[in-house]
Amino acid sequence: MTATATTPQRRDGAPTGAAPGRPRTPRRRPSAVAGRIALHVLLTVLGLAVMVPFLWMVTSSLKLDSQVFTIPIQWIPEEFHWDNYTRIWERIPLVTYLKNSLFLSVVITALQVLTGSFAAYGFAKVRFPGRDALFVAYIATIAVPWQAYMVPQYIIMERAGLVNTHLSLILLQAFGAFGVFLMRQYYLTIPDELCEAARVDGLSEYGIWARIVLPLSKPALASLALLTFVNTWNDYMGPFIYLTSNDLWTVQIGLRSFVGVYDAEYAMIMTGSVLSVLPILTVFLIGQRYFVQGIATSGLK
């Protein structure tokens, strides 16, 4: 692993515009170059290995059922069956599922971001007795496994007559402690002097939140929104427990039930999987850096 010879150069803070591969020190030993090549080869092999499930998913979605499990594996289909992608819409009510997923994801994300960032201001920038104890209660529930209280939650929903409605999932997921926690961590990095100055200028606390803190926390808001959206879109357990009617199902439940019923239609199953992942891939590629920032913010400290 001679390649580690380059480690000290990797400090960030260097302008990202500088070509990443270019050596900054003019003197380079041949062994370092060899190491660099070896590292590239290693990374490519590992990267491909990690990607194999995705590659397989995409190629299988373009095959006939009988061609999915061939020996040896056909990594590139003999002929591309794009019609899988048109036929699937007739096979399962995918439009309904996508609509339901989108509806739940958007509503839950909006509520979580709104109430989370609002509450976070109370926890980070307003000082009042009992605040920290309350925050500890929030944090403590993050540590409690959700499974430990899903039964009482279910009883509450059942008694309220909300089982098998979208409202049950919205109520359960829109007020999570995670959003409050993430936003608070970010607000703590905004200097108190800024809020102080605004107070002296006569701005109310709500004004400070809306006009100063909120605009400054756009990256954190983006992180929270993206993480919540993806989590809701991908959520399996919530819809699995609460939604029983087919017309309320999300993509995840719909796909799972399709797999259960038509377990030999390999190609169609893969087509459905690709379609269920595609929206997430798009969202992810657009907002990639916010994902990473969000994880780093919630992860450290």
Partner: protein, 304 residues
């Protein structure tokens, strides 16, 4: 910060300000708190009480003390689920940690294509679980699945039956979950690596330390806070594992991959045994709590 706004520090203005602050603070927290209290806080507390009650969908709750726990200790399903959960954690935690750390160290440098690799590694984590489970189930297909074709190609004559075999279903789940989670923890490690000052490596290189020595004596100790956090998160998430198992094997074949969370779901929501399932949930919670506390203790001792 409060007192500066109160230009006159008379106690009356101060107490009025305090009241105003309390009011403002609560008004911010309240919209979230109502939902949080009703649907998280109350259920958490309720599940503690339910564990000591006999209650199903049709009866009225009745205090039965430790009955639920006694029944649990006698139940074979409970012990199987507990064993399986520990088995899963014992595989998932170390493997994910090592993979995440390894990839983070490899990818923490300026190198062409490094961003692409980071993205590719992270993507499984946000891929929907159903898609992940479905694809891996097929990859693990015993006869013509790519995994076993690969194993045969490298000389394994009778590769395992993976999700169709009671012995190999759990390893299959662990492999899938490591693949899925390592990118997330890699991001945490990458963030941790950014905080190590480059001068440390420069100095070590001057002293002639080998790359391995630098990793062992600089990188690892500097990453201790990250590792601590990763360990706790990983352990908690392993004990909570549910959806992956539910979608990939449904606890089978037989009960070979039945985990605690699934048992809680089956007893509590499918069978409507609210009290009994809450007792199992309490065991799950206590285990998670104990592990977290022990890890905190170890961490504190090391810092001293």
């Amino acid at each position: 910060m409060v007192s500066t706004t109160a230009s006159a520090s008379a106690p009356r203005t101060r107490s009025r300000l305090r009241r105003r602050n309390t009011l403002a603070g609560w008004s911010f927290i309240l919209p979230n708190f109502i939902g949080f209290a009703a649907l998280t806080l109350v259920p958490v507390v309720a599940s503690l009480a339910l564990a000591f009650m006999k209650w199903n969908s049709y009866s009225t709750p009745e205090w039965v003390g430790l009955d639920n726990f006694r029944r649990m200790v006698d139940s074979e399903s409970f012990w199987t689920a507990l064993y399986n959960t520990i088995y899963y954690a014992a595989g998932h935690v170390p493997l994910t940690l090592v993979a995440a750390l390894g990839f983070a160290v490899l990818l923490n440098r300026k190198l062409r294509g490094v961003r692409f690799f980071r993205t590719a590694l992270f993507f499984p984590y946000i891929t929907s679980l159903v898609a992940v489970a479905v694809v891996w189930n097929m990859l693990f297909s015993p006869d013509a699945g790519p995994v076993n074709q690969f194993l045969r190609a490298v000389g394994v004559d009778s590769p395992p039956g993976w999700t169709t075999s009671t012995t190999w279903a759990m390893p299959a789940l662990i492999i899938t979950s490591v693949w899925r989670d390592m990118g997330y923890y890699m991001v945490l490690y990458l963030a941790g690596l950014q905080t190590i000052p480059g001068e440390l490596y420069e100095a070590a290189k001057m002293d002639g330390a080998s790359p391995w020595q630098r990793f062992w004596h600089i990188t690892l100790p500097s990453l201790r806070p990250t590792t601590f956090f990763v360990l706790i998160m990983l352990t908690i998430s392993s004990f909570k594992v549910f959806d992956l198992v539910q979608v990939m094997t449904e606890g089978g074949p037989g009960r070979s991959t039945l985990v605690l969370s699934q048992l809680i779901f089956r007893e509590g929501i499918e069978q409507g045994r609210f009290g009994y399932s809450s007792a199992i949930a309490m065991v799950l919670f206590v285990i998670v709590l104990l592990i977290t506390v022990v890890q905190f203790r170890i961490q504190q001792r090391k810092q001293r």
